[in-house]
């Protein structure tokens, strides 16, 4: 024990406890609870996402910080309590919900969250219809989220109704719950960048309670094409080279025409692939003998954009 103190592995009080023969003295862990390998394996899930490099960088930073806190704790150095409530800013379909769900699993794998589930809510799930109803609904939602992540999509809509709107009550109740159940859940509020900045400015207590801000950039055309390939591959389909060219040309056109805030990014691509799969089924309906390759390949004629919102 004295040697362990000499080498800076345990605190003086711990060494003294053992010298006193205190039966209550706990054995000193020599290795941190988190290993680098375990962390790398947890973070590898992030690499399955296409693009989102700035988001991945922030998430790696958060996990490196958590790992460092653990290592500092081993050396009995001061460790600040980790506040992980976050703001996700970005246009639709940029991966906010997907990353939130992934983070819940990752924090659970690290032992930070007991459940690791994601409770996804919006204004209607929090705001009630009569006085007192809002606080009750918000508390119930928070209760469900304990041990996991509470994801509030389009959170800015809570502050839109003006002074007398029940949305304000929901914010106050949420802030109180975040204090009451500190470390028991992680709240993530999400929405368009400009609207979220406005939302945070409406309540002076909010910015300090959400210390982590992650901005989700729009996907570029190459990333959208990669998402299309992966979405198809997940369902055991592939795009023919001609189909890829057609899709690329269309995506470039849409990106030029549609305003950034109205383009639904990955969600649009997923919808396009799903429609193409249905169109392929229709095209091959009357083909008597189907090869494996035919059954798997999406051709340019399967890609039609009518009825799909950009």
């Amino acid at each position: 024990m004295i040697d362990q103190y000499r080498h800076g592995q345990i605190a003086l009080q711990e060494a003294l406890k053992h010298l006193s023969g205190d039966p209550g003295a706990e054995p000193v862990p020599s290795e941190p609870r988190w290993t680098k390998e375990r962390l790398a394996s947890i973070l590898s899930e992030l690499d399955t996402l296409v693009g989102l490099e700035p988001v991945k960088a922030v998430v790696r930073e958060i996990f490196a910080y958590l790992y460092m806190q653990e290592r500092r704790r081993q050396h009995h150095l001061q460790c600040e309590p980790v506040v992980l409530h976050m703001v996700f800013k970005g246009n639709p379909g940029t991966g906010k919900t997907t990353v939130a769900r992934m983070l819940a699993r990752m924090f659970h794998a690290c032992g930070l969250l007991e459940g690791g589930h994601l409770v996804e809510v919006e204004r209607a799930d929090l705001v009630g219809e009569y006085i007192g109803h809002t606080a009750q609904k918000t508390r119930e939602v928070v209760k469900k989220a304990l041990g996991g992540v509470l994801f509030i999509d389009e959170a800015y809509s809570l502050a839109r109704g003006g002074e007398k709107d029940f949305g304000r009550e929901a914010i106050d109740c949420l802030v109180k719950s975040m204090e009451d159940h500190r470390n028991e859940f992680i709240a993530i509020i999400a929405g368009y960048e400009a609207e979220m900045d406005w939302f945070l400015a409406t309540n002076p207590g909010l910015p300090s309670r959400f210390p982590i801000h992650i901005t989700f950039p729009d996907y570029d055309v190459s990333a959208l094409l990669e998402i299309a390939r992966r979405t198809a591959a997940q369902r055991q389909y592939r795009l023919s080279p001609e189909a890829e060219v057609k899709l690329r040309n269309h995506l470039e056109g849409v990106r030029r025409v549609a305003p950034a805030a109205e383009f639904s990014n990955a969600r649009f691509v997923r919808n396009v692939i799903e429609k193409a799969i249905r169109r392929q089924a229709l095209r091959l309906f009357d083909v008597p003998r189907l090869s494996r390759d035919q059954a798997m390949t999406l051709q340019p004629e399967d890609f039609r954009w009518e009825g799909i919102m950009p």
Binding site: D3, Y5, R6, Q13, K17, S20
Partner: protein, 207 residues
């Protein structure tokens, strides 16, 4: 020769107590046996005035090794000797400086072998903390409590309430007497030499 070890946190007056207690016991020329943390030993001879000037300091961790002086206790027709050992002040947690950790580890090692442990505490600081409505952890922190716990289990343990010459120290002394009612708590002033007679009466039995 048996060893009486003076332990405690930094700046509680351990070194000054050793110098003045040795003088009280009739030592005019201090022959210090210095045991460095790396195992080297040395002998330094100095007067009481020189020792006061060079060994004691208001800055923490002036002492970074074990330094002992032999004091004699008359026992009937014979004289018994006891090594009075000054130690490095202890601090909570893990000290960032390896040399100081080494020195504190040396103090811990010496605690396991000593015949007498004189645990010196700053009674004035305790009294001051009591007056400031501080929480119990501030008045008597975990390190002091663990040192006392070790001493009580070890045997030959004496709690020295130092700095009794300062105002408010009496409150600290009363606190210690109440908390450690079954232990010997002796009020002393290492600076002025008060309370040394009582310390001598207790310590000589172990020589």
């Amino acid at each position: 020769m048996k060893r009486s070890l003076v332990i405690g946190k930094t700046n509680v007056g351990k070194t000054l107590f050793c110098i003045h207690f040795a003088r009280y016991m009739g030592v005019r020329e201090l022959r210090w046996l210095v045991e460095e943390a790396d195992g080297r030993t040395d002998c330094r001879v100095m007067s009481v005035a020189e020792a006061e000037a060079s060994l004691s300091d208001v800055h923490p961790h002036r002492t970074r090794c074990l330094q002992s002086v032999a004091v004699e206790f008359p026992a009937g027709k014979t004289v018994r000797q006891l090594l009075l050992t000054d130690t490095t002040g202890l601090t909570e947690g893990i000290h960032p400086e390896p040399a100081l950790r080494e020195a504190m580890a040396q103090t811990l090692q010496a605690m396991t072998d000593a015949s007498v442990i004189l645990h010196m505490v700053d009674a004035w600081a305790i009294g001051h903390a009591l007056g400031g409505a501080a929480g119990p952890g501030r008045v008597w922190d975990a390190l002091e409590a663990q040192l006392a716990d070790f001493g009580v289990r070890h045997g030959g343990y004496v709690l020295l309430a130092n700095k009794m010459d300062l105002p408010g120290a009496m409150d600290g002394y009363r606190f210690l007497c109440k908390r450690y009612s079954r232990q010997r708590v002796l009020p002393v002033s290492a600076l002025h030499g008060t309370g040394f007679r009582e310390v001598k009466q207790v310590v000589w039995r172990f020589a």
